[in-house]
Symmetry: C2
């Protein structure tokens, strides 16, 4: 049995009851090191297996091996495991092996939604979610999607906005969006949303790259109606029209 | 004090610990009738105010009046209050009145993510979220966004896909997406995701309108890589390349 468990920002407050139960009642917890550390208060007698970035396939194979040995596995993933999380590859590996191991998915709060709740209500209307990581996606596909996000005047949530290996992608994203959006479009950036070391910035599309951004940041670019008032970033749904 | 509380699909299992606490510790619970009914087990001594669809502005004004009278209000919203939920207009009304009432937002599991966890892992890559409701959005804007969703080969999550007043919008959406996506693109449709009366359908873009769809349905259209195997709908992130 493999439970794919979304842990949201990480602490129990922001996790669902069923996700917490699935972790508590597992024999083994498997996950990326950072996500395991965030849920330390939930770890008691369970066995723990973790590894690092780019080891996702190995991690999933390990989880499957534990499950085949009769153990109840909690494969944990920050945010929602189904949104850029481990949920996809874990299920692909079970399907490839034609294993009859049962897999259950426990949804959670993805980082864009945790960040939005901190900023105000920036994503109340139509939105797109794009990752700038080119590890698994061709940069030309990423560019095409940024253009489509601009064309559709979508609220744009940018995952994995900046890493050491690709520091300039975020300015590329800004430049593409500037082809369609006003330079004063509000942008909210939340680093470590709903974690102890949370940082919040509200800026504009033009100036967004002046704010410190890293892989723990969520960048939310507004649509043509988004405004900032009293430190809150709001995209109207249209009730006032 | 107004707590904007996301209740996800509705039952406690899928709610965050902090959301449940905010409801339990409120003096008054305010919300749309259906969302209030779903959280009945959490209602004990709290006062309750509910009303119907299209009464959102009145509901928010009522919540603000309760808060001004010194009560702790839980304004509840199904899914995530910040994703097509009451979170936006509630904050707009507080800002308009220049009230110094404190507002806190409790994020939750939006219906696309609840549905995705039921279907497998359909939204693991870049995605768009579009509502087909034209109550608050011009139909031409909706069409433009559907074209952009197709152009960008995004996974496309359709909120409010069909109501009695606009039964044909879902076939319009299908037809626009068919200009860009293969007719055999997998489509997952979940009605009442993670509620007692859940219904799950996996079909294709071409045939999606043959499935019963209503306002309680979430429609998830895959991207060019999405596949169906053993009843699971999966969009690969690319780890296998």
């Amino acid at each position: 049995m493999i439970n794919i468990v979304s842990t949201g920002p990480g602490q129990q407050d922001c996790m669902s009851y069923e996700a917490v139960e699935a972790i508590k009642q597992s024999d083994v917890i498997v996950g990326y090191k950072k996500y395991i550390e965030l849920i330390t208060p939930l770890i008691h007698e369970q066995e723990v297996f973790y590894n690092g970035m780019k080891k996702e396939v190995d991690r999933c194979k390990k989880a499957l091996a534990f499950a085949k040995a009769g153990k109840t596995v909690a494969m944990v993933s920050g945010g929602d495991a189904g949104i850029y999380g481990i949920g996809g590859i874990m299920q692909e590996i079970v399907l490839e092996e034609q294993s009859d191991i049962e897999v259950r998915c426990y949804p959670g709060i993805t980082s864009a939604h945790a960040a939005a709740a901190v900023l105000g209500a920036p994503i109340v209307h139509d939105s797109v979610y794009i990752s700038l990581s080119d590890l698994l996606t061709d940069i030309e596909v990423i560019k095409k999607r940024l253009h489509a996000a601009g064309m559709g005047d979508f609220i744009t949530c940018i995952y994995n906005p900046k890493s050491k290996g690709r520091p300039h992608y975020i300015s590329m994203a800004r430049d593409i969006l500037l082809e369609y959006k006003d330079s004063q479009t509000p942008v909210g950036i939340v680093k470590n949303a709903r974690r102890d070391n949370q940082e919040v910035y509200i800026t504009t599309l033009q100036d967004m790259c002046d704010v410190p951004i890293d892989m723990s940041s969520m960048v939310i670019v507004g649509n043509g109606d988004t405004y900032v008032k009293n430190g809150k970033m709001i995209t109207p749904r249209g009730y006032r029209r």
